[in-house]
Structure formats: C-alpha cells, structure tokens
C-alpha cells in the first residue's frame, strides 16, 4: 500500500498564511470579474468520468455509496466546473468563475504520496478565445505578484502546435507519447533516436528538436517559421504566439513570461496555448493553465474555454512567511480574563464589552488544569 501524507494539521500562523494566499488570489480573481463557484465533493462517476483522462482517474479516489453507485471524490476542479456549466440552462457568456477547493488525488510529494491539497483557480468559458488567453495569463501573473512569489517564471507553450507536429511525424499514439515525454524532458538525443527509427522527414525532426531545445523565446518561434514558411497551421500558431509574446512584453511582463515551446506540461485536456509557472524551491510547477476547447464537448456542450489553477501546498513551499504574512494576521495580543467559578457573570459582561469594541479576549478558568 502506498504511504500517504497524513501530515500534522496546519494551525495558527500556517492557517493564517493559507487563508492569506486563498484570500489574495480570490480577491484578484474577483477584481477581474470572476464570480466564486463551489462544486460538490462527491460526483457520480459516470456523470463526470468523460472529463478525466485514464491517468487522472487512476490517481483519483472512488467510493461506492449506499445505493451501490460509484462516486468520485473531486480530483480536479476544471472538469467539474465544465460539467456544472454544461448543465446550466442558458448561462451568460463569457462565464467567468473562480474557486478555492480541496481536491483529493494521489500527488507526488517530497517523499510520500500526498492525498489532499487545495486547488485555487479560475475558468473563462466562452467569449473571445484570444482575449481569454491573454486575460488568463495576466490574471495568473497578477496573482503571483500579489503573493510576492520571488523569481517565478511563466513559460508558455502551445499544445495545438505540438500535437500537429507530433502527428505529422506519422508516429502511432504510443510512440507519440514517448516523443512527447522526450520533448518535455528536453531530451533531444532521445527524441532524435525515436524519430530516426520512425524515418521521420528531416524538416519535422528539426522542428521537434527546436521545440525541445532549451533556448525558448522569440528565436524559437522564428526558427519554426523558417522551417514551415507556407504551412498554414504552423504559421497561424506562431503568429498567435508572437502576438501574445509581444503583448506581454509591451505590458511589462517580458521578464516574467517567456515562450518555452517544450513546456508541454499541465492537464491532459489542454488544446491550445498553455503555461506553467516555475520557481526555485518548489518541487513541481506552482501553477499551470491553458486553453481547453474540447473538454465541455465531453459533457454535451461545445464551448471553448481557458483557465488557470495552482496548488496551495506547492505555492507555500516558495513563500516566506515573514515576507508574506501581513502584520494584521499575526498573533494578536490577547487579554486573558479569569472567569471565577461563582459570580463569573461580571467577567463575561466585561468580555462581551471588549468584543463589542473589537478587542481580542481569551476566557480562562481559575483552575490550573483548565489553563
């Protein structure tokens, strides 16, 4: 049996820090017009399973209810928001929601498997996809900056472009997955070796090697464009990425956000641009986001969408409590009021009076044991 992380529950300032991260994030989402949504913890497996990949289901927890129905404990919020949206009668578009929810799934942790974590995120369903893509990135950047995450980088990739080039290699699905793994690991030797076995045309080999190279940025886009100057799919995607890159640079985010076409991590349902947020000190990416145009289709409503989410537990790895926690959240000086066994009413009245004036109080028993 796996050894799961049943950690000591957070208490006092650790909880205050968590609340601060959640509050700051939700405040930012709210300021961009995202309404808060809550999705249930338990879902009928049949009703939502189409929104999850096999690997995601493997990592999830399923239980049988008293009627014999297979139920799923929410392992990820985005597919559940998509399912909730698809059940709405006539939602106004764009449908913009944010959430902070605990999710349950097997997640790799420092030395054991972590089971529960908080997911904080937002979804932008419908609307203009180009506007949604840039807005989601801007909101993610603002959240990171408002949380004072030091030296983070937001790496932008494009799943549509990657899938198009991988399919063009003529590889069967299993080999495509190996190719994608090598690409994500920036293992150009492995990539070259796999492509050689497939007999892939040199232009496509070159393109995938460019994507896997460590040198991202504008040059990476230019190199791909040089390889495929007349390919409508490649040129459209490159022009789109160039526009996003240019916009982010003009808006002052040129240092924090960067094109990295090999950074194809994140959810299995991403279909367009995606991004990962990395910072030294965190075991995995702090957050990720991207476009998912087919996820809602699996619930019967075809609407394009984009979103971003981050793990509270991972972000806590890179935050310094001294820098982040506002003094207002630090332990207040609490006046202790001893309530005598008999005639304690006066003390209780005094305590209420102080509370009406918003002063902190702590009632204590005169007995040693109770102190």
């Amino acid at each position: 049996m796996s050894e799961y992380l049943y950690s000591t529950p957070p208490i006092d300032r650790s909880v205050a820090l968590r609340r601060h991260v959640m509050g700051t994030s939700m405040h930012t989402f709210g300021a961009w017009g995202y309404r808060e949504i809550q999705v249930p913890l338990l879902h009928h497996f049949k009703a939502v399973s189409s929104g999850f990949s096999e690997a995601e289901i493997e990592r999830s927890f399923r239980v049988v209810d008293q009627d014999g129905n297979l139920m799923l404990l929410r392992p990820d919020i985005t597919p559940l928001v998509a399912q909730a949206f698809s059940k709405m009668r006539a939602p106004r578009l764009p449908f913009k929601v944010s959430y902070t929810h605990k999710i349950v799934r097997v997640e790799r942790s420092f030395n054991r498997d972590e089971l529960e974590s908080y997911q904080i995120g937002m979804e932008y369903i419908g609307g203009d996809p180009a506007l949604a893509d840039i807005e989601v990135i801007l909101v993610a950047l603002e959240v990171m900056n408002s949380l004072s995450v030091n030296d983070f980088r937001l790496s932008i990739a494009d799943h549509k472009l990657a899938q198009y080039l991988l399919k063009s290699c003529g590889a069967p699905l299993r080999i495509r997955q190996d190719l994608q793994r090598a690409l994500i690991a920036r293992d150009t030797d492995e990539l070259r070796s796999l492509l050689r076995k497939l007999g892939t045309r040199s232009k496509y080999v070159e393109a995938l090697l460019v994507m896997a190279s460590l040198r991202g940025g504008r040059r990476q886009l230019e190199q791909l464009l040089e390889l495929f100057p007349n390919d409508p799919v490649v040129t459209t995607r490159i022009n789109y990425l160039s526009k996003i890159r240019h916009a982010l640079e003009e808006l002052g985010y040129g240092e924090q956000a960067r094109i990295e076409l090999g950074e194809l991590t994140g959810a299995s349902y991403y279909t367009g641009i995606s991004f990962a947020i990395l910072a030294e000190g965190a075991m995995r990416e702090i957050g990720h986001g991207g476009r998912y145009d087919h996820l809602l289709e699996s619930f019967g409503r075809s609407v394009p969408a984009a979103g971003f989410s981050m793990s509270l537990e991972t972000i806590l790895q890179v935050l310094n409590i001294q820098d982040v926690l506002p003094s207002g959240l630090q332990e207040p000086q609490v006046e202790k009021l001893v309530v005598p066994d008999e005639d304690g009413l006066d003390v209780l009245k005094a305590a209420l009076e102080k509370r009406r004036m918003n002063q902190p109080v702590c009632l204590v028993s005169p007995h040693k044991k109770g102190r």
Binding site: R108, L214, M283, Q317
Partner: protein, 232 residues
C-alpha cells in the same frame, strides 16, 4: 527552503557509480580542477573554468541524484535514465554523455530460457528497479512477482528469484557468474539532469557548462557484446 548565496553558483550532484572516474576525467579535460570528494558534504570550486561560475559539487548515491535535482536542492546532476524512470523524476535531460550507455536486460542462470521461464506458474524477478520492471513486463501478461533487492545476482543464485532485470555493465562478470541474457529490454544512458526552475533562473550559466561538456565529449566506447543464451 534552501537559501541560495550566489546567483551564479551551480550546485552539481555527482553519482557515486561505475562511471564516476569517466565523469571526473571529462571534467578535468575541460580544465575543471576536480576537488577531493572523499570527504562528505559540499565542495566549493571557485570559478573553475573562467566563466564566472562557481560550482558546489557533492557525491551521492546514484539513485538519489534525481530526487535532489527535482527538488532544486541541486541545480544539476548526473544520472542514468533507468534510475530516473524508476523514481519518475520530472527533470530536464538536455545532455547525454558518450559513456555510461548499457543495455537493460533480463538475465537468468544458464539453463533457464524464456520458454522455461514462461512455463513457471509464478515467475520471480529480482531487481533494484521494481517500478520500471513492473511497467516493462505489464504488457506481457506474466504471472510474476518482483523481488526488490539491490544484489539481484545473489538473489538468483540462492533461489530467491528465477531471473533478474538490471543494467548489463560487464558481460564477463555475467558469464563468470553463470548467467545468460534472455532479452534486451531497453537501454540506459547517462544524462546531465537539470532542475526546470533552476534552468529558467540560471540559464546562461547552465548553457555555458553544457557547452563545455559538449566541447570535451570523449568518443563513445564500443557497444557491449551481449552474451545471449546460445541454446535459446
């Protein structure tokens, strides 16, 4: 959280493994004054190659390198691919060393072949790579039990297992121990591994170090002659 003292310091985790001397030789050929790593802990090497990069080097168990780099305790490391697959470490592997390439094999004592192995009601496979072995054999549909041990050869010789999965580093030793290769399951390669976030922060320094490794890459050794069971 680990506090970094210098923006252009690179911390490098070296595996205490068979290829250690080859790694040392390559780095020395690059002009890298190799510190005495017999003492435990970090060894600071001040700007060894004149590129304005300090190094902190340490030696460790090969199977731990991926964990240290994945968590950003070390920015760089050197590890073989089968260990990375075993730990499922999410790292970048942008450089392949010309040495340290070995076949990953299923081997058994002489006299056992694939047919006789498959006929057993329960096949016991000894390995120090239980997760990877399970993944490799899952599609075969064998009724097998993985015996997770560090010394697979002894496990087979003393009857704890029927065969083993591991890197074939020395065909002579395998033959001398009375074993033969039944199947080549893949290839293990030695890689420079990089923490994803570290690269984004220390891009220029890591690029310079990698270029240095490319410049001093020794020729690849002859491929290993695999001692298959001739009767199989």
């Amino acid at each position: 959280m680990f506090q970094y003292t210098d923006a252009i310091t690179l911390r490098l985790a070296l595996p205490d493994c068979k290829e250690f001397d080859d790694i040392k030789t390559q780095l020395e050929q690059c002009g890298f004054p190799f510190p005495d790593l017999s003492q435990p802990g970090l060894h600071l090497v001040k700007d060894p190659i004149g590129l304005g990069i300090d190094f902190e080097i340490f030696k460790m168990d090969p199977s731990d390198v991926g964990v240290y780099v994945e968590h950003g305790i070390s920015h760089l490391g050197i590890s073989s691919t089968e260990l990375l697959q075993e730990t499922d470490a999410r790292l970048w592997r942008p450089f392949t060393f010309s040495y340290g390439s070995y076949p990953l094999v299923l081997a058994a004592p002489e006299g056992i072949n694939l047919d006789s192995l498959e006929l057993r009601p329960l096949i016991r496979i000894a390995t120090s790579l239980p997760k990877l072995t399970r993944e490799i054999f899952a599609p075969k549909g064998w009724n097998m039990e993985i015996v997770s041990v560090q010394d697979s050869t002894t496990a087979c010789l003393l009857g704890l297992a029927d065969a083993y999965v591991g890197r074939l580093t020395s065909p002579e030793s395998l033959i001398n121990d009375g074993f033969r290769v039944l199947e080549v399951l893949g290839h293990s390669r030695l890689k420079l591994v990089v923490n994803r976030a570290s690269y984004t922060m220390r891009r220029s320094a890591i690029d310079k170090f990698m270029q240095l490794l490319y410049d001093c890459l020794p020729p690849a050794p002859e491929p290993i002659d695999i001692p298959f069971d001739v009767n199989d």
